[in-house]
Amino acid sequence: MKTIPVETTINGDSAEFLCHADESLLDVLRDRLGLTGAKEGCGTGDCGACSVMLNGRVVCSCLVLGVEAQGAEVETIEGMANGEELHPLQRIFLEEAALQCGVCTPGILVAAKALLEKNPDPTDTELRYWLAGNLCRCTGYDKIIKAVQTAAAEMRSA
């Protein structure tokens, strides 16, 4: 199968890649661009481990074709920290141990950041509904919800 050239923007930098028509954006990120932060959990849009931002909205990158990134703005977990300085969500997830195995964590961080940009002061209920598409089989979610709320409070006061 022939490959298709795609020009896109990833974490603010212009990027070019070649991919097959049926290749997911997740596979492109991981296998062609070396951005392995987004994980493949289910591959069918149920688990959210592959969450990235596409034109300002959180999506499952397994349910986006690589070719759809043409001309788009993609943001991944690799772009969340500012150089060596972690985003408050990343730092507080570590400080409050809001993860165990960590496979769901990049997707949860991307999705939580998307919510806080829309709604800086969510209720726990709003947060739990927003993150309903990010499955975690380790934590039982409570530590995740608490860490996001701690980060949200810090970001509001910043």
Partner: protein, 287 residues
């Protein structure tokens, strides 16, 4: 698989019509890319239509709203005027999937995928929504209720696709509501569902009513008798009893892992009753 972004709706229809192999349309991709991944279908041609004019727009038209076929659920939920006019339609759309799925999933896709449990379909049906269909021979307008024909099936011919859905104008003293039953709190498929759209006169008497139920038959059903039972009432007990009886009589569900025939039939009636009361209150009615 070839991936094509046609330059016009006409070109897309011709391309789809002339394709000898398996063709699929890409809008939100939340069904078709899952099918691809599961190898349920191996398309020869994938036609992306999102970039074409109007596909990503919600525009006012004749007092209602025309929603482009690639408008996502999240975009509908953020449109205050659309939500104010058709709250039941928007709440149905917003129940589909996760935040991630809401960023991509579309009302037109939910309709064409043909699931009897599609959450956006019952309220579209009670709203009298009309799909604009582009085909190789031109454009036609089709009532939404006539699009699904059975699980996974729709009435569109080869080369045809929906470009937009019109949610028509309605009076201020009218509203709608959608409810579904799921055993979880989110991210689930309806065991049964119901939508009700009502118009009231200045005394709060129902002058027009439409009721549709989901997941209780091979397609979403418009239950004419259930609407008739509400007309002329202020949703008194007798009218509600008539609504529930008509809904239960119309149900023709299956028993599966999500629910039995008896459970689906019973809950469809209860959901229709509750949705009617919500729509009535939203329309400004005082019981």
């Amino acid at each position: 698989m070839r991936y094509v972004k046609p330059q016009s709706f006409e070109a897309a229809a011709t391309l789809l019509h002339e394709e000898a192999g398996i063709a699929r349309i890409l809008a939100g991709g939340t069904d078709v890319l899952v099918q691809l991944k599961a190898e349920m279908v191996e398309p020869d041609l994938m036609v992306d239509l999102k970039h074409l004019p109007g596909m990503r727009e919600i525009v006012a038209e004749d007092g209602g709203f025309r929603v482009g076929a690639a408008v996502s659920g999240a975009e509908m939920g953020e449109h205050a005027a659309l939500k104010a006019m058709w709250p039941g339609v928007v709440e149905g759309v917003e129940l589909i999937g996760s935040s991630q799925v809401q960023s991509r999933a579309t009302m037109a896709g939910n309709l064409c995928t043909g699931s009897p449990a599609g959450d956006s379909v019952p309220a579209m049906v009670t709203a009298g929504a009309v799909a604009r269909v582009q085909g190789p021979d031109g454009v036609r307008d089709v009532p939404v209720v006539d699009i699904p024909t059975g699980p996974g099936k729709n009435s569109l011919a080869k080369g045809e696709f929906i470009t937009s859905i019109l949610l028509p104008a309605r009076p201020d003293t009218a509203s709608d509501a959608y409810l579904r039953f799921i055993p979880r709190t989110e991210m689930d498929i309806a065991v049964s569902s119901a939508a009700v759209s009502l118009e009231l006169d200045s005394d709060g008497v129902v002058t027009a009513a439409h009721v549709a139920v989901g997941a209780v038959a091979p397609t979403v059903l418009l239950v004419q008798d259930a609407g008739v039972a509400l007309v002329g009432s202020k949703l008194d007990d007798a009218a509600i009893a008539g609504l529930v009886a008509a809904v239960e009589a119309a149900c023709n569900p299956i028993t599966d892992k999500r629910g039995t025939i008896e459970f689906r039939t019973k809950t469809a009636g209860v959901l229709a009753k509750r949705a009617a009361h919500i729509a009535y209150a939203r329309a400004g009615g005082q019981a």
